[in-house]
Symmetry: C2
Subunit: 256 residues, 2 copies
């Protein structure tokens, strides 16, 4: 039975895509069959895995707006156990185009349903908003993984994310739980990072992953080569952090 995890936070630039790509790649390296869905019209998860979104004839768009079977849209990646459902730049208006559709909040959930037995993990990279596409992602998921950048604005936004998750649990997805909060771009040298870490562990307790992703320039270089960090620079602190995160997520499997 697959575990479906939505990677979501409406605050922009907190490390959602970096986490989606590198957690997916680390799970694949640990022999877990993994599928990554790029739900963001920016198509960063698609280009971060080396696929040119502009050249694609099909994408997640067909799933959200038409009833194309998901098997027709899945692409292989540079890692054997990792597949991708790409986004493409045509999607910015997807939110509005989906509004008149029946079951518009459950398009992703229904699309991935036939695959639940074929993958160990299905990860969903969400855009920086709480609109219809992100609601689709969270409604389709078993759990939500929240990347939390170690900055003031990022911490501030957590309460409205909490409210949204609770609303989706009540209306659309009663079994939804918090996979965990992941501290990202942590910089040991700054007080701000320490303050955010202290606040987050106070608020969320053991729901904060033990793994903390440090600020590491190798992580921001990897997407320009179309590679996950473990293929770009396995020895980097960024790669080690995401391999540790994958271990924690796998461990959660047996306890949740």
């Amino acid at each position: 039975m697959s575990r479906v995890i939505a990677i979501a936070n409406q605050k922009g630039g907190v490390g959602k895509t970096t986490t989606a790509i590198n957690l997916a790649a680390s799970l694949a390296a640990a022999e877990r069959k993994t599928l990554l869905l790029d739900l963001d019209p920016q198509a960063n998860a698609t280009s971060g895995l080396g696929i040119d979104a502009k050249k694609l004839r099909r994408s997640i768009y067909e799933l959200l707006l038409a009833d194309t079977p998901i098997q027709e849209v899945i692409l292989p990646t540079s890692l054997p156990n990792l597949s991708l459902v790409p986004a493409n730049a045509d999607m910015p208006a997807a939110d509005i185009a989906m509004l008149p559709l029946a079951g518009r909040e459950l398009r992703v959930r229904n699309a991935i349903h036939p695959l639940r037995g074929a993958y160990d993990y299905i990860l969903l990279d969400c855009p920086p908003s709480l609109g219809l596409i992100t609601v689709n992602g969270i409604a389709a998921a078993d759990s939500v993984l929240v990347p939390l950048q170690c900055e003031y604005y990022a911490l501030e936004g957590i309460s409205s994310l909490h409210t949204t998750i609770a609303a989706i649990r009540q209306r659309l997805n009663p079994a939804l739980f918090l996979e965990g909060v992941l501290l990202t771009m942590h910089d040991r040298r700054t007080n701000l990072s320490q303050q955010v870490e202290t606040e987050a562990r106070k608020h969320f307790g053991d729901r904060v992953f033990a793994t903390v992703v440090p600020r590491n320039v190798r992580l921001s270089e990897a997407p320009s080569h179309g590679l996950p960090i473990l293929l770009y620079d396995i020895a980097s602190p960024g790669a080690q952090a995401y391999l540790n995160l994958a271990k924690e997520v796998i461990k959660n499997e047996t306890t949740s």
Copy 2:
């Protein structure tokens, strides 16, 4: 006659709010009467200026959805020449609530029209998306200022922003021009920053501001004190960069 500038980029976390607050504060310090509109449901520009969005009875929401006169929503800030139209956390659904309204793309433009003579500058902080709220912001503006984080994904997203600006110019706002591209979070030590700067100057030529905002932790500390950088730490590289940016924007006034 006011200059209305939208600060927009659908890529998340590139420094839109940091630029909106600190450019507005620097223009106010240069004796320009300035109004900042927080169009983002995250309400970061509001909290970054020390205002608690949760305690507000009125916000931009009333402008977008009802016909409350804008004068009733304007708040003073810690700087004499700077006023704010705040956001509040109720706004996440504003996009969808606005859809059935007549002239839904021109709500902001119509709301600020009566103020055009009262302020030298009106700045609009946009959310990380190309939805109805950002379209409202760009349709209301004379020009768009695009913060460009010195990272790979940020550079990639520029072309879809270009397309959106061109579409709005054609459909809603024929006189719209590019105020400029501002390089943000530039780190002299990394190759990536150098590469992005080279690419940006190749694409946009002299539309890239001479001012480059360096990565500076004081900029990310200031909002937790509810202060613009020039009141938090005037000597910091971040404060100096935004004062220089204000000088360039004022100089643009006479040439554009």
